[in-house]
């Protein structure tokens, strides 16, 4: 992190327009030439409740949230239930102000809406004492008054953005452009007036802060992309034309994006009665020849366990998403966690035969979703994209050309009617869809409606045309054939020019960090900082979870003396997977765990790394360091 980094937070109640305002803010900075990254924090509530979005912007690449932040635009919670009383959860209206005191860096800036927040209440928050101690620059502004005068009260956020622009020296033209693009003329006009009024009102202050927005430029046009959209676009470009689902946070984002776009892509979206049906519908659509997907978050995914096994047994291709949130049970619906790893790897009766990818960022989310479809349809098994509220909800600037890709509608290992005519059938004319020998374990499928291709798909163990069997030899041959597919998939993934695993840091470093899924980029930033201060450390970010990248992880662990394994859960599930898959390296690994609902900050990983290496005092906050059990 450098002083050329802006870390701007807008905070308010759910319903105060925090999401949309922050998106526009990030996009404006992106258009101005900066790299941007957003971090989203929200409660499980529709109206009210403290929510914020942090926009990090710099002229250098940003791949993670920062440590703390340096500019707070506190709107206050206009939907607070108990604006006058001491509510059970504390003074709700003020939360979007005082709950940020712990994270705001020294010398930071605060703009708060004194139109909404009562002066006496603000005084009670010890704002003045905190500001004095930390060297904060505080600018109370009547944003509500400005919004009322020039537009409508709900435009407090726009007034705040105008004030921010004045204080950080940002050209309001970028905001104006975005406002005019998105709104009707009348509403846009009121917003632009409010924006300008906020800008002018802020200029009344004599600025005491030094923070200004950096200047930057892009070589190529950028797109502000979120994880859920990247997954959905990856699916659409993979030729997916069917989705079935049931709403559940945070998977709903991807489901919504698919549902809104499938009709004009010639596809079908079905919102159904439950997740058992959702997964079963995707299987039915795929069986009938369409590239199909479903998904959910942990609880809904639990309901998909049985259809997931059916897809494995009937060898029906399907792609499932699992957007993790903090569990167990309902847990914390809007908070990220990585505790569904074992659930996703092993759920459903019998031996698992599935692909599981956990992308690190929006690029990988797009890429690996496409790959999931390719493998599911080439090898006839379920492929799961495992992500979380962090990746799903965060946005970052990515070169738009990255998405300039040709679609891949290939239905995979499927026969045409001409090919069926040449294929092996039994005496009654049934196609040997499940022949004991298949290339790489795969027999291409026929699709209902095709001449000469009839067969029986069944969740029972089956003979070559699908008739049920309990013959021990048939059983063993079929099990071996199905599981063999995973070996071939691993070979295919290992042979790729670009591995799904990401290496970061000096190759000869003796200290290592292993990380998986959405926490990868945060760890890489921490690795950069550690190396910059002279501690040689490198990281391996793992995205392939099944089949496991045995060669790559073995080589990495062989090359380091000690390794910290970073993940957001309490039982070190990924570290356990490494030990299970590799059968050694236990004494070399130590886990850095966090499961408080807040994703890691890079500084926390630096701190955790140092305390694990130096065996010093345990890290602060809610992190835990746990040594691996020996082998």
């Amino acid at each position: 992190m450098t002083d050329r980094t802006l870390m701007w937070r807008i905070s308010g109640g759910s319903g105060d327009g925090i999401d949309s305002t922050s998106q526009n803010f990030a996009k404006a900075l992106m258009r101005s030439g900066l790299n941007v990254f957003t971090h989203r924090h929200y409660p499980s509530r529709i109206r009210g409740g403290h929510t914020y979005v942090e926009v990090r912007a710099a002229d250098e690449p940003v791949r993670s949230r920062g440590d703390g932040f340096n500019f707070l635009l506190a709107l206050g919670d206009s939907f607070a239930r108990n604006p006058d009383d001491e509510a059970y959860y504390g003074k709700e209206e003020l939360k979007p102000l005082y709950e940020h005191f712990d994270d705001l860096n020294e010398g930071g800036v605060i703009v708060y809406d004194e139109g909404l927040l009562d002066e006496a209440d603000v005084t009670e928050t010890d704002l003045q004492a905190e500001a004095d101690e930390n060297g904060w620059h505080v600018y109370p502004m009547d944003l509500r008054g400005i919004a009322r005068e020039h537009g409508r009260e709900v435009m407090r956020n726009t007034a705040g953005v105008g004030a921010t622009a004045a204080m950080l020296d940002i050209d309001t033209g970028y905001f104006e452009e975005l406002i005019r693009d998105a709104m009707s003329e009348e509403v846009a006009e009121a917003n632009v007036e409010t924006l300008d009024a906020g800008y002018e009102a802020a200029q009344e202050f004599e600025f005491t802060h030094d923070l200004r927005v950096p200047e930057g430029s892009h070589d190529t046009e950028q797109a502000l992309m979120g994880g859920s959209a990247a997954i959905a676009y990856g699916a659409l470009d993979a030729g997916c034309r069917f989705i079935s689902g049931y709403p559940m946070t945070p998977w709903t984002d991807a489901f919504t994006i698919m549902s809104q776009n499938l009709p004009q892509f010639g596809g079908i979206s079905e919102q159904v009665e439950d997740e058992i049906a959702a997964a079963s519908l995707a299987i039915g659509a795929s069986h009938a020849g369409v590239k199909a997907m479903s998904g959910s978050s942990g609880g809904g995914f639990a309901l998909m366990s049985e259809p997931l096994g059916l897809a494995e047994m009937t060898e029906t291709p399907v792609v499932l998403l699992e957007a993790m949130r903090a569990g167990p049970s309902t847990g914390m619906p809007t908070k990220p966690e990585q505790a569904d790893l074992e659930h996703v790897l092993y759920t459903s009766q019998g031996d698992s035969c599935r692909v599981v990818f956990a992308p690190a960022n929006v690029r990988e989310a797009y890429e690996q979703t496409r790959k999931a479809f390719e493998l599911a349809y080439d090898y006839h098994l379920p492929a799961i994209v495992l992500y979380d509220q962090k990746l799903g909800g965060e946005m970052r600037s990515v070169p738009a050309e990255f998405f300039d890709r040709e679609p891949d509608p290939d239905p995979g290992a499927v026969l045409t009617e001409d090919e069926i005519a040449e294929a092996a059938h039994d005496n009654s004319g049934k196609y040997k869809r499940y022949a004991f020998e298949g290339e790489n374990g795969v027999n291409p499928r026929s699709i209902p409606g095709q001449e000469g291709g009839r067969f029986l798909a069944t969740g029972n163990e089956s003979q070559e045309v699908g008739h049920i069997t309990e013959d021990p030899n048939h059983r063993t041959m079929q099990m071996n054939r199905r599981l063999e597919k995973l070996d071939h998939i691993r070979e295919e993934l290992d042979d790729r020019e670009r591995s799904h695993q990401t290496y970061h840091g000096p190759a000869d470093a003796e200290h290592g960090i292993l990380v998986w899924g959405s926490q990868q980029d945060t760890v890489f930033e921490a690795v950069d900082r550690l190396n910059a201060r002279g501690t040689e450390v490198k990281a391996l970010g793992v995205s392939d979870l099944m089949p496991f990248p045995e060669l790559e992880v073995t080589a990495f662990l062989d090359s380091v003396e000690e390794c910290l394994v970073v993940e957001m859960n309490a039982s070190a599930q990924f570290r356990g997977l490494v030990q299970k898959e590799l059968g050694r390296f236990g004494p070399r690994m130590t886990s850095l765990l966090k499961y408080d609902g807040e994703s890691f900050e890079p500084g926390e990983i630096v701190e955790g790394f140092e305390s694990s290496i130096e065996r010093s005092q345990p890290p602060a906050g809610n992190m835990r360091i746990v040594p691996a059990s020996g082998d």
């Binding site: 797109a223 959209a229 659409l236 030729g239 010639g266 209902p448």
Partner: protein, 312 residues
């Protein structure tokens, strides 16, 4: 040019075409009512000019689930209670398929009850046959959702304290547009009703009484039966919801008093099927989505052209 030339094939077929040349030994007991369903289905399909490879038969788990093993067509033997969601999505993916789902009373009215309700509500153009033998057969005779009150079994040793499910009423309330009951003991009516159900453009539900001679010896063999359309005793308009509801209630009640009332209980020929409704809202393409993957000249939309712009 279709990639699925079995669909809407004009070729004539007969019963034998729907009989596997290498027929697996049926697991059904001698005297089982399930044979009658198989026979009626084999009879109805050629009557309607269907050929085996345009039919997708999706079954659940239980004795009834074995139907797909003994009927020659594309088959999908799914998991307990989940035949309907698999079947209805196949129909959406390729509306040209003749989709039939089948399962037992435990499968459809118990574990899969939620899917039954919603598939009926959506009125998918498909046929759903429920083998109703008032018992769990394959797991050896436990009380099922349609077992009569007081029914004793190993899992209800003192007799069931529950009233049975009313399958016809449930179907009507949920939204099925064709509801009938037939019995294994009435093969002629069974085939006629199956043929009507398959022809019907919407969700057609048949409660098919299939006696279980092994585990439900006390139950009636479903004889004598009365066809409510043929009998002078019953006057009701099969297209009138209220009259249909009354007739269903009576038939459901009388079954447990030993009187077997069968026939068509509700027919709504006007209600559009789910596919039609969905196409009307613009949320389902006119051409079968499944065809597109096989069409060489198909043009595929790109997110880069249609969606990425708004992120810039």
């Amino acid at each position: 040019m279709t990639a699925f030339s079995a669909i809407h094939d004009e070729r004539e077929s007969d019963k034998d075409d729907f009989t596997p040349g290498v027929e697996p030994q049926p697991t059904w007991c001698p005297g089982c009512g399930d044979f009658a369903v198989l026979k009626a289905l084999k009879g109805a399909m050629p009557e309607l000019g269907r050929s085996p490879e345009e039919v997708l038969l999706v079954t659940g788990i239980g004795c009834s689930g074995k139907l797909s093993s003994y009927f020659e067509s594309y088959g999908y033997h799914a998991i307990h209670g989940r035949a309907l969601p698999v079947a209805r999505a196949s129909k959406l993916a390729n509306p040209g398929l003749e989709v039939v789902a089948a399962g037992g009373d435990g499968d459809g009215y118990g574990i899969g009850g939620n899917h039954f309700m919603h598939t009926a509500r959506e009125n998918h153009d498909m046929t759903y046959i429920v083998f109703n033998n008032e018992i769990f057969g394959l797991t050896k005779g436990q009380t099922s959702p349609t077992s009569p009150k007081g029914h004793k079994s190993k899992t209800q040793p003192s007799g069931s304290a529950k009233d049975p499910v009313r399958p016809l009423t449930l179907s009507l309330a949920s939204g099925a547009s064709y509801v009938a009951r037939t019995a294994a003991t009435n093969p002629r009516q069974a085939q006629q009703i199956l043929a009507e159900a398959i022809e019907h453009d919407g969700f057609a539900h048949i409660d098919f009484l299939t006696q279980c001679p092994t585990w439900n010896k006390d139950a009636k063999e479903y004889v004598p039966y009365t066809d409510v359309q043929q009998s002078d005793e019953f006057e009701f308009d099969v297209e009138d919801r209220r009259e249909a509801a009354d007739m269903m209630y009576e038939a459901e009640t009388k079954l447990y008093e030993g009187e077997v009332l069968t026939g068509r209980f509700y027919v709504d020929s006007d209600r559009p099927s789910y596919g039609e409704e969905k196409r009307a809202t613009g949320e389902m393409p006119e051409e079968p989505v499944a065809e597109r993957y096989f069409a060489e000249d198909a043009e595929w939309e790109r997110t880069a052209d249609q969606l990425v712009e708004r992120h810039k």
